[in-house]
């Protein structure tokens, strides 16, 4: 589409030569007739106003933080703990008789002397105090920038203190400078779950038992998904990590299937789990009516149980019927509008289906911290070059656990299933996009501004950092990380919630007042005078 081309040209024209070259490689105008490549998971350029966060944000903020019954100690100066406290909307409840620390932020609040003389003593004291005050089942330690630099050995401390107090302590070297985005942190976090948690408890699972991976219960998503899955007859052993509990994750390998909602690092965990324990994984999309129904049907195919399949269809019929009318109302209101989606995880992809269900076409999409396979599909993985930044992030390798491994599905049946369901596969965001639409990786501030000015979409789905600049341009911007404090957005009821909120956002009467009447009515000059200081 020439609009996309115009946009790309306009944007690139703003940059100095080097930046232009770099950014150009992160932009692709979809053309289904060729195999397309996009640069991703590379360094942000200094000075560029990127939306990206850091490894700590990905590790503590996204993956480890949502586990409800752990004391998550952030080792470092106060800020990192503070900003990741209660801001991500990963909801959670204490288990019967258990604990819930989601309302708390724990930090060693390192001071200058700790930087100079080392922070180990303070960290040890912090662990002792946490144990004395709370007696938690487990503790996490997340390192922030200076920790690695000054050489505090958080792993040794974790090991010693775990032994001393007799509880699990997970230490994460997720300093903010690791990698090129929060993705590095996801990776670091998930590695540890794999090595230290999953497989450490062996409670037998009931039938149709699954794990939900890459689901963080933002705005209660997991609860809405679980509501429907439970109704069908599934037993959710663990969720990683929304509303997660440490003992449940430890028991995850006893499930029969890993169901993967998010991308990249969590696929990688699923793969390791399969290698080590034998349970396979499928990719799902719980967003949107069609997406959720397809996911349920895929899962039913995997278990291949007539009663389960029948219940699946019955539940789909019941649930979709109950929301049909409302969805139709929103579609009538929104049909023909366009969207731009820029958000991390899987959302820039998954929400396209839901948007389409209410008549909104996505014309630009991109990930904040995606990898090439998130765009191009998993087939590309072997061809991705490992650069210096990625090399610093530990890759772990697991082998079959002879004691705990069990094959869930005969190999022959598995081969058949792979043709029917997204068994360990993902085709990437590009596959979803229509020809002529634009895919941009690591969208930044000035590119966002140009997109809004040139493409004038009705809906911009992104984060809080660009929400208000977009709205200043008269376009509704929705926070796709926090859902603007609404939710759940997953599953059937979530689809209704999302659609209702989008309709409100696009149609709220405020927009029609942006231009003051003295600029509209002919009788006036429209000149404005006066001094604003005086109140």
């Amino acid at each position: 589409m020439s609009e996309s081309k115009k946009l790309v040209d306009k944007v690139l024209d703003i940059y100095p030569a080097k930046v232009m070259k770099n950014r150009k490689s992160h932009m692709v105008i979809k053309d289904a007739s060729v195999k397309q490549e996009i640069a991703a998971n590379t360094r942000a350029i200094p000075g560029i106003i990127t939306n990206r966060g850091c490894a700590y944000a990905g590790c503590k903020g996204v993956v480890i933080g949502p586990i409800v019954d752990m004391v998550h100690i952030v080792h470092g100066p106060v800020g990192c703990s503070y900003y990741a406290w209660g801001t991500r909307r990963n909801k959670g409840k204490a288990r019967e008789g258990g604990q819930n620390f989601l309302e708390y932020a724990f930090t060693t609040d390192m001071q200058e002397s700790d930087i100079v003389f080392g922070g180990e003593k303070k960290l040890k004291a912090a662990i002792d105090e946490a144990v004395e005050l709370f007696h938690p089942k487990a503790i996490s330690i997340s390192a922030t920038c200076p920790v690695g630099l000054i050489g505090d050995d958080i792993h040794a401390i974790a090991r010693d203190k775990a032994k001393e107090h007799g509880l699990k302590i997970l230490a994460f070297s997720c300093e903010g400078y690791k990698g090129v985005s929060q993705s590095a942190g996801h990776h670091i976090a998930n590695n540890k779950l794999m090595t230290d948690v999953i497989g450490t408890i062996d409670t037998p699972a009931k039938e149709f038992s699954i794990n939900l991976l890459g689901e963080y219960n933002i705005g209660g998503d997991e609860w809405e998904i679980a509501r429907v899955l439970t109704k069908i007859g599934y037993n959710i052993i663990s969720t990683m990590t929304g509303n997660g509990a440490i003992d449940e994750i430890a028991n995850a390998h006893k499930a029969d299937l890993n169901v993967i909602q998010c991308h990249r690092s969590i696929n990688y965990v699923a793969e390791m789990v399969e290698t080590k324990y034998g349970l396979p994984w499928i990719k799902v999309n719980f967003i949107g009516v069609e997406g959720f129904s397809k996911a349920l049907r895929d899962m039913a195919k995997y278990f291949d149980d007539p009663a389960l399949t029948a219940r699946t269809e019955a539940v789909i019929a019941e649930e979709t019927a109950s929301i049909e009318e409302e969805m139709a109302t929103y579609k009538a209101l929104l049909d023909g509008k366009t969207a731009v989606l820029f958000v991390g995880g899987s959302r820039a992809h998954h929400y396209q289906g839901l948007l389409r269900e209410i008549g909104i076409e996505t014309i630009v999409a991109g990930y904040e911290f995606g990898h090439r396979d998130d765009y191009e599909g998993r087939d590309v993985i072997p061809y991705i070059k490992v650069d210096a930044d990625s090399r610093n992030i530990e890759e772990i390798h697991v082998e079959k656990d002879e004691k705990k491994y069990s094959l869930r599905i005969p190999a022959s049946r598995a081969e058949q299933l792979k043709k029917e369901i997204p068994w360990a596969s993902y085709d990437g965001l590009l596959s979803e996009m229509k020809d002529g639409t634009l895919v941009i990786d690591d969208l930044n501030h000035i590119e966002t501004e140009q997109i809004i000015k040139i493409l004038k979409p009705e809906f911009f789905g992104s984060g809080i950092k660009d929400k208000y600049m977009v709205q200043k341009m008269g376009v509704y911007a929705k926070q796709m990380h926090s859902y603007d404090y609404s939710g759940p957005y997953a599953g059937y009821q979530g689809a209704v919630n999302f659609s209702r909120d989008v309709a409100a956002g696009i149609l709220t009467p405020a927009w029609k007042y942006i231009t003051a009447p003295w600029y509209k009515e002919p009788l006036l000059s429209g000149k404005v005078e006066g001094v604003e200081q005086v109140c």
Binding site: P46, G47, R52, E112, I115
Partner: protein, 455 residues
């Protein structure tokens, strides 16, 4: 709610739980936004910049733009020089600010980048300014960062033009809301005071929506104005924690006489602010301000029964707390606990002096403490109301006590950007908020037979 908060308060040495402060760079970023056409730049990991922008945006609900040096592991090893130089080049090329205000982070401070030297070695375009402040996250708090950046404005920009007659008054508003800065300007204007106020975020982080996005809104103090601050007669610095460093720097560098005052929150501090302006500038009191003051006194007299004698626990930032503690005492309330996460022993001395003068022998003041402590102390000695930022809401719900949101940050309500708490009108607003909170709470929890029409 906060079910794991138990037991009596005991000093901890390692663990901060639910901090009552955050780190320097975010305060520095907020201060920098109060310069016209300034792009704050965060020298560190990109996560810092992201977090600071996010948090400021949540509070102001307005675009908060800042760039970052985007450190990677390599930069940690080799130093951040190249990141900053390249960053600045890109920033000026792409975003064309008048000023870039660099703040450091724990990362760049730990590796020891000499930001001043790096900037010197960078080719800053003609007519453009780069200032910087050292704002290590491991010292002080966000308030310190704000203060350091204000000081940096003076250090890098203000000049005393010799031979030129000193005129006008500098006003340093301190770490307050855009609405408060607007109100401070309104007061000074009504008193016919020629003034330069910096920083001034009032038309930067609370901008109108006109359908046009401008990366640099109309507001903010210009570099020219900050430069001329060196030729002012005096500096009125509001809030010692956030403004005194810059005022003293102006004195040191340009011999401008500093007056360190409380934030003009509450009647006494507002009186003092106005008296100081009148004293420095001459002229007479403005009738409309006097009218507002009279209305405030009227309300203080007429509705004291709604709050007099009520116990209040306050937490937040020192400058706000110092003024607010004075004001709640003037309202006849009993501040049983005043707590800040920010260090500074002078804070303890100031608050304790107020306690002593009011005969509050059982009240406590604490610095460098957290909200876990705050909560434990409230459990041990219950209060009628809490005044603090949004983070107090968990304790408020846990203890079924109303919360009046004041200070920074307010992440869950609307209004602070538009309605000031400084000045007489602001004091009226505070009274409205306190009475409404107490009466709403009463109306929700009282026995039905005690539910009343007139209050």
């Amino acid at each position: 709610m906060l079910d794991e908060t138990k037991g009596l308060y005991k000093k901890r040495t390692g663990l901060k739980i639910n901090p009552a402060k955050t780190c320097q760079p975010i305060g520095a970023m907020y201060a920098a936004l109060g310069i016209h056409k300034c792009l704050p730049h965060s020298h560190g990991s990109q996560g810092c910049c992201s977090y600071h922008r996010m948090h400021l945006t949540r509070h102001y609900r307005d675009p908060i733009v800042a760039s970052t040096s985007s450190f990677t592991e390599g930069a940690c090893v080799f130093g951040g020089k190249s990141n900053l130089k390249k960053g600045l080049e890109n920033v000026f090329h792409i975003y064309n600010p008048d000023v870039v205000a660099v703040n450091t982070t724990c990362l760049s401070e730990t590796i020891g980048d000499d930001v001043g030297e790096i900037i010197k070695s960078t080719d800053v375009p003609e007519g453009k300014t780069v200032i910087f402040a050292n704002t290590p996250s491991y010292a002080g708090s966000h308030v310190t960062g704000f203060s350091n950046m204000c000081k940096a404005m003076v250090t890098h920009v203000s000049e005393k033009k010799e031979g030129k007659k000193a005129k006008g008054i500098n006003i340093l508003p301190g770490y307050v809301e855009p609405s408060d800065m607007m109100e401070i300007k309104r007061i000074a204007t009504l008193l016919n005071v020629p003034f330069t106020m910096f920083p001034d975020t009032s038309n930067v982080v609370a901008t109108p929506n006109t359908g046009n996005y401008s990366m640099y809104p109309e507001g903010g103090t210009t570099i020219k104005e900050i430069r001329r601050a060196g030729n002012a007669i005096a500096t009125v610095a509001l809030g010692s924690f956030s403004s005194e460093a810059a005022a003293y720097e102006l004195e040191k560098k340009c011999e401008v006489v500093p007056y360190i005052m409380k934030e003009p929150i509450g009647i006494k501090a507002t009186d003092a602010f106005i008296m100081k302006l009148l004293e420095l500038n001459g002229g007479n009191m403005d009738a409309s301000l006097e009218f507002e003051r009279g209305q405030l006194v009227d309300v203080m007299v007429d509705v004291h029964n709604h709050y007099h004698g009520k116990k209040v626990a306050l937490f937040g930032d020192p400058d706000i707390l110092i003024a607010m503690t004075e004001f709640v005492i003037d309202l006849g309330m009993i501040p049983t606990l005043v707590l800040t996460g920010t260090p500074g022993k002078i804070f303890v001395a100031e608050i304790q002096a107020m306690f002593d003068q009011a005969g509050l022998t059982e009240s406590q003041v604490m610095i460098e403490e957290d909200l876990f402590t705050f909560h434990q102390l409230i459990k041990a000695s219950p209060v009628d109301i809490i005044i603090g930022n949004t983070y107090g809401k968990y304790i408020a719900r846990a203890e079924q006590v109303p919360l009046v949101r004041m200070g920074w940050p307010i992440l869950d309500r609307v209004g602070h950007s538009y309605f000031p708490v400084v000045g007489y009108k602001g004091a009226l607003r505070i009274i409205e908020k306190i009475t409404t909170a107490l009466l709403d709470h009463y109306d929700q929890t009282c026995e039905e037979e005690d539910f009343e029409l007139v209050m």
